[in-house]
């Protein structure tokens, strides 16, 4: 019933909306009452320790885990519909990708177009153009015929970013985009993100590197099992808030004695 209303509403909220989202794994609470409203045309940093629920929140936003309570809307749609309509793109960390898989850089970026193709995934001219353009933007055009396995870590990261660009999604979720990249890739990615913001896209970046957040995130979400604080970076980035997020001295958080034990 709710999605119907959302579709009919003339003024749909563009961006990400989470309402009191709770996620638990077999009774263990990973995230509770997480709410945020992230409008389009902004870059938001999702900051928290390992095991604080960042990746859980991401998974919930991507529909990989089902919230036990609460709702998530992306550009006013359910997560599933947003995925089907290619509204949302996810850029993973490199871990978990089989780098000896026999695919070229071009093939990988083309995978970003699959959702827009017919069921047989036969690329049209427009798909090839999108891939070409995306590769150009991440400066990987010359390497397009290389197998994905021979790229360096930073180049690989750019390849997966190109895949998200080729998808032409208006909402981008990036998991630790800056971890383990070279200076060139870092600079290129920061410029791209600023460009995306100008295009009116919504960007959510999960990171534990505070300097990047300070540099170009307009908004920041501090997470420790729930959204501790949320708003303009300048207002939220206070010592008190940060120690609450990272210090672990705050008594009321639910995290156990070993913060990293949740992630495996």
């Amino acid at each position: 019933m709710k999605p119907l209303i959302n579709q009919v509403q003339p003024s749909t909220f563009l961006g990400i909306e989470a309402n009191e989202v709770c996620v638990d794994y077999n009774g263990t609470v990973a995230l509770y009452d997480a709410s945020l409203q992230l409008k389009s045309g902004s870059i938001c940093g999702l900051v928290g320790m390992n095991g604080a629920g960042k990746s859980t929140f991401f998974k919930a936003l991507m529909g990989f885990v089902r919230p036990s309570r609460g709702t998530i809307r992306i550009n006013g749609c359910t997560v599933h519909k947003a995925q089907k309509d290619q509204i949302v793109a996810y850029v993973p960390q490199n871990e978990g990708i089989d780098c000896s898989f026999p695919v070229s850089v071009w093939d990988v970026v083309m995978m970003g177009r699959y959702g827009s193709m017919n069921v047989f995934r036969i690329p049209r001219e427009s798909d090839r153009k999108a891939v070409w353009h995306a590769l150009e933007r991440v400066e990987l055009l010359e390497l397009r015929k290389r197998p994905i396995g021979v790229l360096s870590g930073g180049q690989r990261k750019r390849a997966f970013l190109a895949r998200a660009i080729a998808q032409r999604a208006s909402v981008l979720l990036l998991d630790e985009p800056f971890s383990g990249v070279d200076v060139r890739t870092e600079k290129l990615m920061s410029e791209l993100f600023l460009q995306f913001r100008k295009d009116g896209r919504t960007i959510l970046i999960s990171t534990h590197d505070l300097s990047h957040v300070r540099d170009f995130c307009d908004l920041v979400v501090l997470i420790n099992k729930t959204v501790l604080a949320y708003g303009e970076t300048s207002e939220i980035f206070t010592d008190e808030n940060l120690s609450m997020t990272f210090g672990g001295m705050h008594p009321n958080v639910l995290s156990g004695p070993t913060p990293s034990s949740e992630e495996f």
Binding site: Y90, G96, F101, P102, Y114
Partner: protein, 289 residues
């Protein structure tokens, strides 16, 4: 093997057997099954499902016996038990703390044992050796028809969904994130695996069918970095080794299934040694330089 070499006349070696109806049939069905299993083997090796292939191929055994006993096409029984074993593996893994490879080993040996017991108990004209080791030289017309139908289904599915299945093997997270139903793909691939196992059973038998489902893929994987090329190479090497295997089996009077798989293994060894980029001889020279 020695008398093969002594009387070796290449043209005669290939042409003479074709005068026998049973050899024409055996060559056709072996090449077909080889090609089909070769195509699937790309997905099996890339997805890391070798053990799953082993499990499913063994688990179809009771299905074959039951189907014969009930007078059904053996492929239907095999398919039911193949998919059933996979479902059971998933169920036990989810509901217990046992690791996946243990569950796989546990379920498939259980099914296989059930098959053996059923064969010895149910009065039928099933030749256990044919199921275990295959008998392409003695394949019947009805079995031939079933194999054609199975092959057509497997090839159609793998061709239509080849991009989705490739993406599913490479990056299932991305597949999900663009709204592809990965659960469906998972079961589609497993169903195709069950079907291919039934087809492979015809030529090399239950015990060796897993070789058909991984060796060609592994060979091709050493030879190329392009997925499409890998599938062509796997299909080609698999069909070729099936044909050569049947010929060798004919001329030297050895077990056909064993001969086919041995040729496949030899081709793999060649690739392992001499593959342009990934052969061990190549990598040794490049590390010295």
């Amino acid at each position: 093997m020695i008398d093969v070499l002594c009387t070796f006349n290449p043209l005669n070696w290939f042409v003479e057997p074709l005068s026998h109806e049973f050899m024409r049939r055996a060559l056709m069905v072996s090449a077909l099954v080889g090609g089909v299993c070769g195509l699937l083997s790309c997905y099996m090796t890339l997805k890391g499902w070798a053990l799953m292939g082993d499990a499913v191929s063994h688990a179809v055994m009771p299905g074959v016996v039951v189907a014969y006993a009930l007078g059904l096409p053996f492929s239907i029984g095999a398919f039911v038990f193949g998919v059933g074993s996979v479902a059971l593996i998933g169920f036990v893994k989810q509901k217990s703390r046992i690791k996946e490879d243990t569950v796989i080993g546990l379920v498939f040996t259980g099914f296989f044992a059930l098959g053996l017991v059923l064969v010895s108990k149910i009065k039928s004209n099933i030749d256990l050796m044919h199921i275990l080791f295959g008998s392409p030289l003695g394949i019947s017309y009805s079995d031939l028809n079933q194999t054609f139908i199975i092959s057509a289904i497997v090839v159609t599915i793998l061709t239509l969904f080849r991009r989705d299945l490739m993406l599913y093997c490479f990056d299932p997270t991305h597949a999900r994130s663009i709204g592809i139903n990965t659960g469906l793909l998972h079961y589609l691939l497993l169903s195709v695996l069950s079907l291919a196992a039934v087809a492979g059973l015809q030529t090399v038998g239950i015990i060796l069918v897993v070789a058909m489902l991984i060796t060609p893929g592994a060979t091709a994987y050493l030879l190329t970095d392009r997925f499409d090329r890998m599938t062509y190479l796997a299909v080609f090497s698999s069909a070729l080794s099936s044909i050569i295997g049947v010929y060798i089996s004919f001329w030297s009077d050895i077990e056909t299934g064993g001969s086919i798989v041995l040729v496949q293994t030899l081709i793999f060894l060649l690739a392992f040694l001499f593959a342009p980029r990934y052969g061990i001889l190549k990598s040794q020279t490049s590390t010295h330089l």
